[in-house]
Amino acid sequence: MLFDEYNPLDNKMYKVLDHNGKLVKESDYPDLSDDELLYLFKTMLYERTIDEKALSYQRQGRMLTYAPNIGQEAAQIGSAYAIKKDDWLVPAFRELGAWLIKGVPLKNIYLYWYGNEWGSHFPDGVKMLPVSVPIASQLQHATGIGMANNIKGEKNVVMTYVGDGGTSHGDFHEALNFASVFNAPVIFIIQNNQYAISTPRKVQTKSKNLAMKSIAYGMPGILVDGNDLFAMYNASKAAVERARNGEGPTLIEAYTYRLGAHTTSDDPTKYREDKEVEEWKKKDPILRFELFLKSKGLIDDEWIEKTKAELEKDVTTTFEEIEGKSDTEIDDIFKFTYEKMTPQLEEQLFEYKAFLEGGKK
């Protein structure tokens, strides 16, 4: 239905909530209770707080390279909220909101960015793969997880993410093609945040939008306002239902914007105009959702302030729990190369420890 109505060839964008937090498509008001709305909003604020605190820790020299999500919260949270606990999430590296929804503790997330592999050892029951740095390569894993579901006759689905830059990669093509050929229950979310580091979206491809790349695979695709939580949620939910019903994969382009730098190593003023950023700030997904919730009478400024304070405290406490106490244990460098350490590794570990011991003497 939705995918017929919004054929990406027409370059029509699916929107439910406008920039002022007003419903532009009443018929598509999502099936979310007030509690759920508040939970989602709170998670957006949580995500923003985590980003902002990480950036400030980084400036203080207390954090390493960090990739912020500011401006992309709706794209991430709206999509991830459409899957269930038993479903899989296969991330790239810029989906903080989705990870939070999936149940990854902030402690893991910060530990990862802090530079310790244990951050990617998620608690039991969190069906998410670790961050995948090589762009687009993770899509293959998502497809494989989905193929395995079909083989095993399991009903859970897979949600996976890639950036606008990632759509140019061969792995994007192969993963979507495999998913379609094998009817794998995978929802591919492109977070089109308009840039791949300094490279603008128009340098990536001449196709009018990225959603229409789905046509090459005989797969439905849809262009969605990625700063609109409701649109993202609805489109994702429809795609999840297709997947769960055995109808195969879907491609969703979340049209959004990276308000911050690529990572803390990046200086975006080198390649884009402030004016552009200012324009997009007006479309901030949190602002928009806030206006909607206020108009519905669900929150007010006091609520927001209180919530932010709580979240900030939580974030600060979590960071301080790991800070300075997260050096890698030497054994850990060796123990996870194989199930059982090889004699070579045992020897190298032994020799290295002996050297350290020797130094102490």
Binding site: W88, V90, E117, W118, S120, H121, F122, L129, P130, S132, V133, P134, S137, L139, Q140, H141, A142, T143, G144, I145, G146, M147, A148, N149, N150, I151, K152, G170, D171, E174, A175, N177, F178, V181, D332, K335, F336, T337, Y338, E339, T342, P343, Q344
Partner: protein
């Protein structure tokens, strides 16, 4: 009735028997299903186990390996085929960046019980990219295991171990001896441990280390040098990574001499690692320079030149003599 099989049949039998026992095993790749593989290694598997567990894929090696990563994470034991090892490179990023790293990256939460099979090596008068031996590339990458059998018996036992291993194994099959000879192979599953070399023949004067199709050539060379009263200890490495260092280190301590024979290019071929280990572990026992006899540092030639590339039994014999007479 004895079960006398060539290597293709032995591998096929290993796949059959393991799939029978363990229904989480799936087999896929280009042309492995309906056709049973271009070398017929996966013949009849689809007939027996159906299209869900044995299937053909689109032509895309990165997706074949990358989807296997996902499958392995999600509870299956995928066995995927690269149609030739020379076509594994489109999947190289998946192999080095993910296959080799998932366990370490997730501190053991996820691991990948998967096998990547491929026909490997030269000597079948084939087109470009169908003859190369690049095991060293993969053996350099932490987190991978690399296995190369030299007989039907070993192929079956090693493959079964590879399938049951909880780490990813590259299983490179020397296609030159796919059908070169038959051997008695027990029915029913048995394991040959990964990471253990085999002393094929004991000897006193020199240690020769080899693997895959070259083992037979070394054996032929041994027939030649035997006539000159040279006694060779022949070690089949079987597993390239992780390497069984004791096997050849102990042997060199006895013989004082070592020759490594492989068909891959010399520079940074596996021979280099073996010689370096010998230096580290048996330096004082060495009576002659540890030596390599290998393919040239060139691209593997097209068929009208390939007879020059792979060390022949005669060249091996000559080199053995040279090292022994040093």
């Amino acid at each position: 009735m004895p079960n006398t099989l060539n290597m293709v049949q032995a591998i096929n039998q290993a796949l059959m028997e393991e799939m029978e026992i363990d229904e989480t095993i799936v087999v896929y790749g280009e042309d492995v299903g309906v056709e049973g593989g271009v070398f017929r290694v996966t013949q009849d598997l689809q007939k027996k186990f159906g299209e869900k567990r044995v299937f053909d894929t689109p032509l895309a090696e990165s997706a074949i390996v990358g989807s296997a990563v996902g499958m392995a994470v999600n509870g299956l034991r995928p066995i995927v085929e690269m149609q030739f090892s020379g076509f594994s490179y489109p999947a190289f990023n998946q192999i080095i960046s993910h296959v080799a790293r998932m366990r370490n990256r997730s501190r053991g939460k996820y691991y990948l019980p998967m096998v990547i099979r491929a026909p490997y090596g030269g000597g079948i008068r084939a087109l470009e990219h169908h003859s190369e031996s690049t095991e060293a590339l993969y053996a350099h990458i932490p987190g991978l295991k690399v296995v190369i059998p030299s007989t039907p018996y070993d192929a079956k036992g090693l493959l079964i171990s590879a399938i049951r291993d909880n780490d990813p194994v590259l299983f490179w099959e020397p296609k030159r001896i796919y059908r070169a000879f038959k051997q008695e192979v027990p029915e029913g599953p048995y394991e040959i441990p990964i990471g253990k070399a085999k002393i094929i023949e004991s000897g006193e004067d020199i240690t020769v280390v080899s693997w895959g199709a070259m083992v037979r050539d070394v054996q032929k060379a041994m027939d030649i040098v035997k006539k000159k009263d040279i006694s060779v200890e022949l070690i089949d490495l079987r597993t390239i990574a992780p390497m069984d260092r004791e096997s050849f280190v102990e042997s060199v301590k006895k013989t004082g001499r070592i020759l490594v024979v492989h068909e891959a290019p010399k520079t940074l071929g596996v021979g280099a690692e073996i010689i370096s280990i010998v230096n580290e572990k048996a330096f004082l026992y060495l009576e002659a320079p540890p030596t390599r006899l290998t393919g040239f540092d060139t691209t593997f030639p097209l068929p009208r030149g390939e007879q020059h590339y792979i060390p022949t039994p005669e060249r091996i014999a000559k080199t053995i003599e040279d090292v022994v007479r040093y």
